[in-house]
């Protein structure tokens, strides 16, 4: 009887997961391992996202001022500066609902590169960086209100090798 109960629970759980996945549009972020970064040196971190099949989201530079761009906003912890955020170029696509326009969109997988700059004051160790990816999705017949995806990654700040020159861009270096 225990096996039957387990089987029923398993199937019910699978059904719930499957139904949840059949819902509206979604963008998910791939799990990112802890990125090692050197103190005082800007380092790129790549964040990978996936747009659910059948949907697209506006790129960071949509072709119309009315469209809502995809934007990543990060809250840097103390002693970590977030530098340039590089968005990929979108693809210019024509959809049935806008046959005369090309919309610049992301679909499938795309990556956003973030420059992480641990300051010289950063204590070596692990730091959490959190933020949100704001996007607005559509399928071929409808558009969905803007949504925010929670973004999280970790960096491991390490000391630079002994004898390495300090980064002159640091606000803590006064020459």
């Amino acid at each position: 009887m225990r096996r039957v109960t387990e089987a029923v629970l398993l199937v019910a759980l699978m059904a719930v997961v499957a139904m949840a996945q059949a819902g509206g549009p979604s963008v998910e972020m791939a799990p990112t391992a802890v990125t090692p970064v050197l103190r005082g040196k800007p380092s790129p971190v790549e964040l990978d996202f996936r747009v659910k099949q059948g949907f697209h989201i506006n790129s960071n530079h949509p072709n119309s001022p009315y469209l809502i761009p995809t934007v990543l906003k990060l809250d840097a912890p103390t002693d970590i500066a977030i530098g340039k955020v590089d968005y990929p170029a979108g693809r210019n696509l024509t959809f049935a609902f806008a046959p005369d326009e090309k919309l610049n969109v992301y679909s499938g997988d795309f990556a956003v590169k973030v420059t992480v700059h641990p300051l010289h004051t950063a204590t070596p160790g692990k730091y959490n960086v959190r933020g949100q990816l704001r996007y607005q999705a559509c399928d071929d017949r409808a558009c969905y209100p803007p949504r925010n995806l929670a973004v999280h990654f970790e960096v491991q700040v390490k000391k630079p090798a002994a004898g390495a020159r300090p980064n002159r861009q640091s606000p803590h270096v006064h020459s």
Binding site: M1, R3, V4, A7, V8, V11, A12, M14, A15, V17, A18, M19, Q21, A22, G24, E28, A30, P31, T32, A33, V34, T35, P36, V37, L38, K41, S43, P44, V45, E46, D48, R50, Y66, L67, I68, F95, F97, A98, E101, L103, D109, A111, Q136, C138, D139, R141, A142, C143, Y144, P145, P146
Partner: protein, 240 residues
């Protein structure tokens, strides 16, 4: 920093497949006890549950798809036959507009937003259909569910040549109409204020015209609400 210090792209986890597709055959019981009535009953229960859940999933998907194609129900909001929730909203020209102001007319209540590209495709159709069916008692009402402000909505509507009232939407009104999970969403409301059809997403112009005709044909006319009469329509019918 050397490349080796960078993290590589991580693998996305494979989606869980619907129930029934990744169920490995249960072959664990090989002793004679596996064939006991008790074991057979357990196996039967498992099979029944798996088949039932699979049928529910497949059926649900089918019904959702069918509902979308027929322009009926896939999301919340008042169902056909139910009274359309009344609201009070401001129009772009500063007037206070209530849905009940249009009792006696058929109303195409269209929720849209400036960021909604499919909504743009419908707007010229609505302009034409308002011209065509306005004399028979149609009123198109656009409700902008936008955060971009009145000026942006007004500019957009002007650029699109909108000739019907555009109202500035509120979340509370959206909630009354099912939460508006996606746009465009339109409700076709008859002359008595009852919902004839609710439509989620972009549809063809001919479908829209059919729903307009249906809305015009139902409910009771109110004198002075339209300038022409058509034989055979508006015979105090009510939605079912």
């Amino acid at each position: 920093m050397p490349d080796s210090m960078h993290n590589e792209v991580k693998q996305f986890e494979e989606p869980v497949r619907p129930a029934g597709q990744n169920q490995a055959p249960q072959q664990t019981e090989t002793s004679p006890a596996a064939y006991s009535p008790h074991a057979r009953r357990n196996a039967a229960v498992i099979i029944v549950v798996v088949v039932a859940v699979a049928a529910m999933l497949i059926g649900g998907q089918y019904l959702a798809h069918r509902g979308e194609r027929s322009g009926t129900i896939t999301a919340g909001g008042p169902k056909p036959g139910a009274a359309a929730p009344d609201f009070t909203l401001q129009s772009l020209d500063g007037k206070t507009v209530r849905l009940t102001d249009f009792r006696g007319k058929a109303v195409l209540l269209n929720f849209w937003a400036t960021w909604c590209e499919p909504c743009k495709l419908e707007m010229p159709w609505f302009v034409e259909l308002q011209k065509q069916y306005g004399p028979q008692g149609l009123e198109v009402l656009g409700v902008a569910m936008d955060d971009s402000g009145k000026e942006a909505v007004a500019k957009f509507a002007k650029d699109m040549g909108v000739n019907y009232p555009v109202l500035l939407g509120k979340e509370s009104v959206g909630d009354e109409y099912g939460g508006l999970e996606y746009l465009p969403t339109s409700f076709y409301i008859d002359r008595d204020g009852k919902v004839v059809a609710r439509v989620f997403g972009l549809r063809s112009r001919s479908d829209i015209e059919d729903w307009i005709k249906e809305a015009l044909s139902r409910g009771s006319r109110v004198a002075g609400k339209e300038s022409s009469q058509q034989p055979g329509v508006g015979k105090f019918e009510t939605s079912n």
